[in-house]
């Protein structure tokens, strides 16, 4: 039962498990894909964000570029700028450099956030941003790369990532006197650009190979800082470096997502800012590569509900199906048991029926036997009433007569009568004994007999009759020749029949007796035909097989033959019938019924 349950369980559970796994994998893929597309879109939008971020700064620089600057001592100019800067918390410095790169005006935000004019002017003529921006014309704005602020030739500490927005500046005479520079603190800008989900890694590199933003502080501006960080050789950083060389890409492989996008600031600005009133042109070559790496651990984490669902489903299915299988198996077992029991009772009933049928057959046989016995008893009773009583009553009468006898003469007259009765009784006892022996035989020895042999043996006894060629014994034993019967009885029967046929043959013709076997519905039958004088059955029919009945005076015989034949046959469950016509012949038909049951 348990094995059957487990098999059923396996058949139900494993296909379901496979489907569930397949389905959840699809779901995982789908989810990863959705995440991938989402992150890709998000990264692509960062260019817009960057432009949107830059736009006001560019506008601001452009505004000051078109505002004439005459003298550094003009306090009203400085005040205007201070007010402007105070409203812009990310504006770190406001400077005006002359065409030689020497600072003419310098306003900077101090630690407390206050804007104060500086009196120390530095020479920035060798700084790359001055070199790249000194040729700017009207309506041109330059944006520097992102790097750490340097003052007096040294990195300002704490590190301050900035970019600079630069435009030409003119005096009232519209003569270019230098450039106006706004230092913009880029922390917020970087944070905005590199904003990402927790767990994923985000990198911003510029086209010089500097890490502007990285998961590790040590990596950020490492080139500018001139430090070597060992983590830079880790696979992730190596991959970032490798991707930096390539075009923008996005791929989902090995359960990891890599997305890169490049912000070409000047190009993007041109594309996105298309107002006719706004004729500012961004110059320079500022570009950042944004790389978003979502490691497999994060994907796994995001996919955990699916894993959990899968696990939960699996467990649930496992339990439910196991219970179901057990219940079903149990039900099957009960059913089978019931079926078995039903089958068993059916078999028992069938057997009982067979037994009953057998018993019925037995009973029928017994009943038939009893009927035979009954008729034999009746016969016996008849014999006793007629054949024994008669001589006995005669004896008693004779005895009376002896007593009454008046002379010796009379006595002498009685003597032969008494002798005769004695003889009669003696014969009768002899004959009855023969009959009773047949009736009483409990076990009659039977064996398979060759009928032809028996007929031939019997014929030899009547050699004088057959030798004269006036009587012929014929056989036709093709249908069957062997029969299980008592050897003694069968010989006696055959001899009696031949004897009768010879005794009652017709002298008007060549006499014969024919033994012919045949089968009727599988029952062995023996037909004994003669062409003798025949018997008038209408007269003697009921007496034919009775003791001491004789039907022909011309022949000797004491009326025992047919009676003994019938008794011997009946003792072994066989029967005999007669058909006869006076002057034509007689046909005896012997039917050998099964003798297996005789006692």
């Amino acid at each position: 039962m348990v094995r059957k349950a487990l098999l059923r369980f396996a058949l139900l559970f494993f296909p379901l498990l496979i489907i569930a796994l397949f389905w959840s994998n699809m779901q995982l893929k789908e989810q990863n894909n959705t995440l991938f597309m989402h992150e890709k879109g998000k990264l692509e939008q960062k260019t817009d964000l960057a432009v949107e971020f830059i736009k006001p700064i560019v506008s601001g620089v452009h505004f000051w570029s078109s505002f004439p600057f005459d003298s550094a001592t003009d306090t009203s100019y400085s005040e205007k700028i201070i007010r402007f800067m105070e409203a812009m918390p990310n504006y770190d410095q406001f400077r005006i450099l002359d065409t030689n790169g020497i600072e003419k005006l310098r306003l900077e935000r101090n630690q407390e956030g206050k804007i104060i004019p500086s009196t120390i002017f530095q020479d920035k003529s060798d700084r790359y941003y001055f070199i790249e921006s000194k040729k700017l014309t009207a309506n041109e704005v330059y944006i520097s790369k992102l790097d750490l602020n340097i003052e007096h030739g040294h990195l300002e500490f704490p590190f301050k990532p900035v970019f600079r927005c630069i435009a030409p500046i003119y005096d009232s005479e519209k003569v270019k006197i230098g450039v106006v520079i706004i230092n913009y603190r880029a922390e917020q800008f970087i944070k905005m650009l590199s904003e990402h989900d927790k767990g994923s890694l985000f990198f911003i590199t510029d086209h010089y190979g500097e890490f502007v933003s990285a998961p590790h502080d040590s990596a950020e501006f490492a080139l500018q800082k001139g430090v070597k960080w060992s983590g830079m050789s880790s696979p992730v950083y190596q991959q970032v470096k490798a991707l930096e060389e390539q075009k923008d890409t996005a791929f989902l492989a090995n359960n990891e997502i890599w997305i890169t996008t490049t912000i070409h600031l000047e190009e993007a600005y041109k594309t996105f800012v298309k107002s006719p009133s706004h004729n500012v042109q961004l110059v320079g070559n500022t570009s950042w590569k944004l790389t978003h790496y979502i490691p497999s651990s994060l994907l796994e984490q995001r996919n955990e509900p699916i894993y959990r669902g899968r696990m939960l489903f699996g467990t649930f299915a496992f339990i439910v199906l196991l219970v179901l299988s057990l219940v079903l198996a149990n039900r099957d077992a009960t059913k089978e048991k019931l079926h078995k029991r039903l089958n068993q009772s059916h078999q028992e009933l069938k057997k009982a029926q067979t037994d009953l049928e057998e018993k019925y057959t037995d009973l029928k046989k017994v009943s038939e036997k009893l009927q035979t016995r009954n008729s034999q008893l009746r016969e016996f009773n008849y014999l006793i009433s007629h054949n024994i009583r008669a001589p006995i009553t005669s004896i008693s009468t004779l005895t009376d007569m002896y007593e009454d006898a008046k002379s010796m003469e009379e006595v002498h007259e009685l003597n032969p009568k008494l002798k005769k009765i004695t003889q009669t009784l003696s014969n009768l006892v002899e004959d009855l004994l023969q009959y009773v022996r047949i009736l009483n035989a409990d076990k009659i020895a039977t064996k398979t007999l060759d009928l032809k042999e028996i007929i031939e043996e019997s014929a030899a006894l009547f050699i004088e009759a057959t030798d004269q060629k006036t009587f012929v014994i014929n056989t036709n034993l093709e249908a069957w020749n062997t029969i299980t019967f008592s050897s003694i009885y069968l010989k006696s029967i055959i001899q009696n029949l031949i004897s009768n046929a010879i005794k009652y043959r017709s002298h008007e013709r060549d006499a014969y007796i024919l033994f012919k076997t045949y089968k009727e519905k599988g029952v062995h039958k023996l037909e004994v035909v003669d062409n003798g004088i025949g018997i008038d059955l209408s007269k003697h029919g009921k007496d034919i097989f009775k003791l001491y009945k004789r039907f022909h005076k011309q022949a000797s015989g004491k009326g025992m033959g047919l009676f003994i034949i019938k008794s011997q046959l009946e003792a072994l469950n066989a029967t005999i019938e007669i058909k006869s016509e006076k002057g034509v012949g007689t046909i005896f038909t012997i039917t050998f019924n099964n003798i297996d049951n005789h006692e």
């Binding site: 008669a390 009553t393 022909h552």
Partner: protein, 135 residues
């Protein structure tokens, strides 16, 4: 015609001897004719079919006989002389008190009586007297 005639039909010659002796003792004038079986008696009737003198007063008929038994004889006689019973008293005299035989006897209206052997002398005496008185 004062003589009484008895026909005895029986295969037992001791019976025949005894019965004959008793009848002679009752009256020496009784005429007795014996037959040892039914067929013999029947043949006699057939041979003398047209002689009324052969019709006896009494037939004592045995049942169990070798060639033609009592019943067979009665059946055949019924065909030969259907009105025999009016002149002749037929008695069954048998050693059988068998039920079968008794009930068969009741079916023969022609029968005057049924005796079980041994038939006593007194019975025969009565029988003779009743016959003589009838005459």
């Amino acid at each position: 015609m004062n003589k009484t005639t008895f026909y005895l039909v029986d295969d037992d010659d001791v019976y025949l001897f005894i019965t004959k002796k008793i009848l002679k003792m009752i009256s020496p004038d009784i005429t007795i004719r014996e037959f040892t079986d039914g067929e013999e008696a029947l043949d006699f009737f057939k041979e003398n079919a047209f002689d009324d003198n052969i019709i006896p007063d009494v037939i004592l008929l045995d049942l169990n006989m070798p060639y033609l038994d009592g019943w067979g004889f009665l059946n055949e006689m019924n065909k030969l002389h259907p009105d025999l019973a009016r002149k002749t008293k037929i008695y069954i005299v048998t050693s059988s008190d068998n039920e079968e035989d008794l009930s068969s006897a009741e079916n023969f209206k022609e029968l005057a009586g049924y005796f079980v052997k041994p038939i006593e002398r007194e019975r025969l005496q009565e029988l003779c007297e009743s016959i003589l008185s009838d005459k």
